[in-house]
């Protein structure tokens, strides 16, 4: 329980609340700890205001919720408040409508004004050490009705940033200019306010405000509204509220909740049964919907598998697609559909489905098995197209998924042999070639041309080009082979055909 809050509340309400609290919160260990402390505080202060016994009972019963330390309101968010369209109704200060006396307003202003707040005032006097402002209104940090308090504030010349090094900064100001300045210092006892025009004097939330001379249009909205309200007594708070454009913003509730720091997603409540910690995640709509979608999708998949077993492939595909519409990325549906694709021969689509299924559920046994088989088939297709190296990669992947598959193992071994053999053959053939004499166009240039035609960007140095023609030896062949993996085989075929 928040100690300070509780103490403040008790001092306000008096001993009768304390007694009620003692009755209602006997089981609360936090309260028992604070008991003696509160007792002492109460005796020292005297009595508080007489109060409604029902309210006291309410406070006493709900004290553990009311004073729970977790329930702190976040700071009211300040910030850019003057966009073109005001997002909520910016009202004049309430003091105006309450008709609070001057003494009261003066005392609470000096109590609450702080360094870094922003004021707007009219220059009343210019001396050689600075200028005096008669404060007109607040422009940041507080919202108070202070024009008639006739507060005077000083801005020392050292606090005015100079525009140019020689000029007297005070020459830019004239009597009756409206100036926006930051509060540098307050002497609450002597009731003196010191101002500054340096941006560094502003607190963080008001850093974007421009200090210095301003025009009438730049006066804060709440001030201009308060002027019209003060002159016309028919304009009550409610009248003005309804008349503000921002009041009718459809998102005003969400905006203000955010500004005040109250959450609407984990909404507060004083009812014992509605405390947020009592709600379980699995009772929420989204969680139930997910479980339900999975279950509905599975039903469709089962129907689809049944169709498949009886040879009705079209209906089966429809069922699988329906299942995936209900629950995208449903693992069973993807695996089943993949199997159907593989069966029909659409190997690439099958592979996509299996891969997606494995992303969501990496240990799915059937997905792995089917993917392995499909990859082997694809590998065989590629072998037929002479894309041996890609095929080898696929066989390796297939084996990593399901290392018990004999077909995959056999295929992998076979293809590794084939690749190695062809490399060796090429190397032998190249090593036997005699050195060719240099013709008009150097062979290096010829090679470069040919390679460029084939659009293979093989970046070899000049030396390597020459060496290739001067002395084919294993070293350079291997260099080419090592550098260009995919092109490996193609390079060799190219070189082979060139020299055979």
């Amino acid at each position: 329980m928040d100690r300070d809050l509780l103490r403040h509340c008790l001092l306000y309400h008096g001993p009768s609340l304390f007694n009620t609290l003692k009755c209602e919160q006997t089981e609360n260990p936090d309260f028992q700890e604070l008991l003696s402390e509160l007792d002492k505080a109460l005796h020292e202060s005297g009595f508080g205001e007489p109060n409604n016994p029902l309210v006291e009972q309410f406070i006493a019963r709900k004290a553990d919720i009311l004073f729970s330390p977790a329930w702190k309101t976040a700071k009211v968010k300040e910030g850019d408040e003057e966009p073109e369209e005001e997002p909520y109704a910016v009202m004049p200060p309430l003091e105006l409508f309450m008709e609070v006396s001057q003494e009261e307003r003066r005392s609470i202003l000096y109590r609450d004004l702080e360094k870094g707040d922003v004021v707007v005032g009219r220059i009343s006097n210019i001396r050689d050490y600075g200028f005096f402002l008669k404060v007109v209104c607040m422009a940041g940090g507080l919202k108070r009705d202070i024009e008639d308090l006739e507060l005077s504030a000083l801005c020392h010349i050292s606090e005015i940033p100079s525009h140019r090094s020689h000029d007297d900064p005070l020459s830019y100001f004239q009597i009756n200019d409206l100036v926006r300045a930051g509060v540098k210092d307050i002497d609450r006892y002597e009731e003196k306010i010191t101002l500054s025009l340096r941006p560094a004097s502003l607190s963080h939330s008001w850093k974007h405000l421009k200090l210095g001379v301003i025009t009438r249009e730049e006066l804060p909205v709440q001030y201009s509204r308060s002027i019209s309200a003060a002159s016309n007594t028919a304009e009550t708070y409610e009248c003005i509220l309804g008349g503000c454009h921002g009041y009718h913003n459809p998102c005003v509730v969400d905006y203000l909740l955010d500004k005040l720091g109250v959450s609407d997603t984990q909404p507060p409540s004083m009812m014992r049964g509605l405390q947020s910690k009592l709600f379980k995640e699995e009772d929420f709509a989204a969680a139930i919907r997910k479980k339900q979608s999975t279950s509905w999708a599975l039903k469709c998949v089962r129907a689809g598998v049944d169709h498949f077993k009886h040879g009705r492939h079209v209906e089966a595909m429809n069922e699988y697609n329906k299942a995936l519409e209900i629950d995208t990325n449903n693992v069973e549906a993807l695996v089943a559909r993949g199997a159907l694709y593989a069966n029909k021969g659409s190997i690439m689509k099958a592979i996509t489905d299996f891969e997606l299924a494995l992303e969501n559920s990496p240990d799915h046994r059937n997905a792995k098995k089917y993917l392995c088989q499909t990859l082997v088939e694809r590998g065989k297709q590629l072998e037929g197209q002479e894309k041996l190296v890609t095929a080898e990669g696929l066989y390796r992947r297939a084996l990593s998924l399901d290392d018990s598959n004999p077909e995959a193992k056999e295929a992998l071994n076979k293809i590794t042999d084939t690749i190695q053999k062809s490399i060796r053959l090429r190397e032998e053939a190249l090593a036997k070639e005699p050195v060719k004499a240099k013709s008009g166009e150097t062979s290096a240039e010829k090679l470069r041309k040919i390679l460029k035609e084939e659009k293979r960007f093989i970046f070899l140095s000049e030396l390597e080009y020459q060496s290739m023609y001067q002395g084919w030896c294993n070293y350079y062949c291997n260099r080419i082979i090592d550098h260009y993996t995919e092109q490996k085989y193609k390079c060799n075929t190219f070189f082979g055909s060139h020299f055979s």
Partner: protein, 256 residues
Amino acid sequence: MDAPSSRYPAALNRAPGIAGRRESCGETEADARNTKTHFRVCRFIMELGVKLCMRSVPVATACVLYHRFFKRASVGAYEPYLVAMSCVYLAGKVEEQHIRTRDIINVSHRYFNSGSCPLECDKEFWELRDSVVQCELLVLRQLNFHVSVEHPHKYLLHYLLSVSSLVNRHAWSRTPVAETSWALLRDCYHGDTCIRHTPQHIAIATLYLAINSYGVELPVGEKEWWQALCDDVTKEDIDTIISELLQLYDMEAKCI
């Protein structure tokens, strides 16, 4: 958070015999029982609201529609939980936070059958969905299609801003007045306070109670702060609303 132990209600009409027996017991007893029923059903609506991630205003609209419906209709003639579900659905449409019937049915089903599996896409599910949609039309007709509601929420938020400027900023950030008043406002929808008083009065009353509970001191002028915020509210109005609200908290202990 106990649900009634009865099976999931799907019927629109209850047996007329039960209603007859109730009336013979006497007016006040029936009233008291009805108030308890309404309390429980509104609690159901609030829980639905949280689990469906509805904002405060649509939940409030749903409660208002529910209370207005049963001002004219009798509790015996219509199944209140079904009416509540339809009110939630309708309120989602009115306040532009559309809720799918599937989600409403799922959450309600789990409310009444705690820990059960979600419903299959079978006849029972479609029948439930049909009842919700038909009941929605019934609610609309009962209310003469007047479903837009003015809520205290906007007022309360603006009042909070105005009042916060009167208080020292550090004292304000230490005291959860905003949260408490918002909680009180949400809770007052368990009863029919929301249709018996104007939104401004309700907003003032909840703010008053929150400020009073924490003992926040506000400056005094010619007028009290609540008089300045709303011209036609009197201290009696505030006290009436507060006592109604406090009665709701007492009822929680008895009903749930």
